[in-house]
């Protein structure tokens, strides 16, 4: 069993009964990790060492000291229908092959957003993105290749890999609505304009897996939620990311 500590602080009282845009709340989330931080696994580079180096540290846990804040956890508030007036932004979300790694390593985006794939390296990569066992896209990205764009039409977790460089891994998470965020260096993220009411919060981390909690969002108020992963989750990703 993993440990969850949920601290909910209502900073502002209810202001009005009707749910208009003005009454939407703010959810501030901090994701913590309690335990020893394992050193990152290091993979040997088998080709293109002049560009990629001779070894590559794999992404692991990035935990802030002393706050224990966990970076790159994707937080989604579940069960809220997307507002009719809001659509996915037409601005492409960029995923780059850069320094023989995917940048950003974890890319949360709104379902319907265009995903724009770049290659900034002087070597050939292929960007192979799958959802479970189904290919979303698998494109060759030769050196100085033109960007490739494809709209992400379905929500969920997508795994990104380069078949030419096994150590290159990344993730795209497509959310059905705009109520999501990714934690910064201190483990914080802030989600704005959340409809008031009772909601479920889902957290996903590459190594630590999923975590869930409940939140009550006050109209015109802000709620602070703290979730914590325990050390016994540290090898979840080793089991699921093979």
């Amino acid at each position: 069993m993993f440990l969850i500590i949920l601290i909910v602080t209502l900073l502002f009282p209810n202001m009005a009964p009707a749910q208009t845009q003005k009454e939407q709340g703010v959810v501030t989330i901090q994701v913590l990790y309690r335990g020893a931080v394992p050193p990152p696994a290091v993979m040997k580079v088998t080709r293109d060492a002049d560009v990629c180096g001779i070894s590559m540290p794999m992404h692991s846990l990035t935990v802030h000291s002393p706050s224990r804040g966990l970076k790159d956890a994707v937080v989604t508030i579940e069960g809220i229908p997307a507002p009719d007036t809001e659509h996915a932004p037409p601005t492409p979300m960029v995923l780059s092959n850069s320094g023989c790694a995917f940048s950003p390593h974890v890319l949360p985006l709104r379902m319907g957003s265009p995903l724009e794939i770049h290659n900034q390296d002087p070597v050939m990569h292929n960007t192979h993105i799958t959802s479970d066992v189904r290919t979303f896209i698998n494109v060759a990205m030769v050196a100085k290749a033109r960007p490739v764009v494809k709209k992400v039409e379905k929500s969920g977790l997508y795994r990104v890999q380069c078949d030419a460089h096994k150590f290159m891994r990344g993730y795209v998470l497509a959310a059905e609505h705009p109520y999501f965020g990714m934690t910064d260096e201190r483990g914080h993220t802030r989600i704005l304009n959340v409809p008031p009411g009772n909601h479920e919060i889902s957290v996903w981390h590459e190594q630590l897996g999923p975590l869930q909690a409940h939140v009550t969002v006050p109209p015109n108020g802000e709620v602070v939620v703290t979730l914590e992963y325990s050390e016994d989750r540290a090898h979840h990703g080793d089991r699921t990311n093979k």
Binding site: T46, R47, V123, M124, N126, T127, H128, I129, T130, D132, V133, R134, T135, F136, I137, N138, V139, A140, V142, A145, R146, V148, K150, D163, A164, K166, K242
Partner: protein, 257 residues
């Protein structure tokens, strides 16, 4: 005899080689068509692809659970042989081509079925995946080859082969022994080890070996495998596709008649 070959031999008794499906017209995909297709599927396809199209037919014990390629799971997986962009479902004519020709070394051709019967079984196969009911993707227009296989073209194709990193998987001389393969890093969608095509043996080209087949493979890739789509890299330089096609075909002699 390898167990896979025994399974194939059993199925190939139902089939013979046939002409390409050029100009084949498909019937309306209504319920009666699907029902007739179901009867054909149960006779010809179920052995490998399973009763519900999940690629888990009884031939699985012969093929081996950890041997790739596995029979296609029509419900969950994508499709390798397409004229549509990477990640999209195949067109009806793509499915017709695969059923008609089979896949060298993997799936027998089903030319013993009439064209009508092949369309019917395709209508049934599509019923396994509801995404086939959505608007079909726009297939690639595969043009008639426009560059003769001259020495100059083949030399240019060789340069593109190296520039595009094909040797990483297929090897310096196309024999399928590139460093990524030798490192054992190539996997299919089920995480099973697979080998790149030996380009010096065109009889083994799974997506066909005529120039337009190779053009289609280069442009759309083979979903579920590491073979990517190169279409973005050829944008505005279609001649380069034919140079690369000419080089790839120069690596293997015509199969003897």
């Amino acid at each position: 005899m390898h167990p896979r070959n025994i399974a194939l031999l059993f199925i190939v008794m139902l089939s013979t080689e046939t002409a390409l499906p050029v100009g084949a017209e498909k019937p309306e995909g209504h319920r009666q068509t699907q029902e007739r297709g179901r009867h054909i599927y149960e006779r010809a396809c179920l052995w490998c692809h399973g009763t519900e199209g999940r690629g888990d037919g009884p031939a699985g014990w012969a093929i081996g659970r950890y041997t790739a390629p596995r029979p296609r799971d029509f419900v969950s997986e994508g499709f390798k042989f397409r004229s549509t962009p990477s990640g999209e479902l195949p067109s009806d004519h793509d499915l017709f081509r695969t059923v008609t020709r089979g896949i060298p070394g993997v799936m027998p051709p089903f030319g013993s079925l009439t064209e009508q019967e092949r369309w019917e079984v395709i209508a049934y196969i599509k019923s396994f995946n509801p995404a086939f009911k959505e608007a079909p993707p726009i297939p690639l227009n595969v043009p008639i080859p426009s560059i003769p296989a001259s020495e100059t073209s083949i030399t240019q194709g060789r340069a593109i082969y190296l520039q595009f990193g094909c040797q990483g998987c297929h090897g310096e001389n196309g024999t399928g022994d590139g460093p990524v393969h030798r490192a054992g890093e190539l996997r299919d969608e089920q995480r099973l080890r697979i080998a790149p095509t030996d380009l010096t043996n065109r009889a083994s080209f799974k997506n066909g070996s005529d120039p337009r087949d190779i053009y289609r493979t280069l442009m759309t890739g083979l979903d579920g495998t590491p073979m990517p789509s190169y279409s973005a890299n050829f944008e505005g330089s279609e001649d380069n596709v034919w140079h690369l096609v000419n080089y790839l075909l120069s690596l293997s002699p015509e199969p003897s008649q």
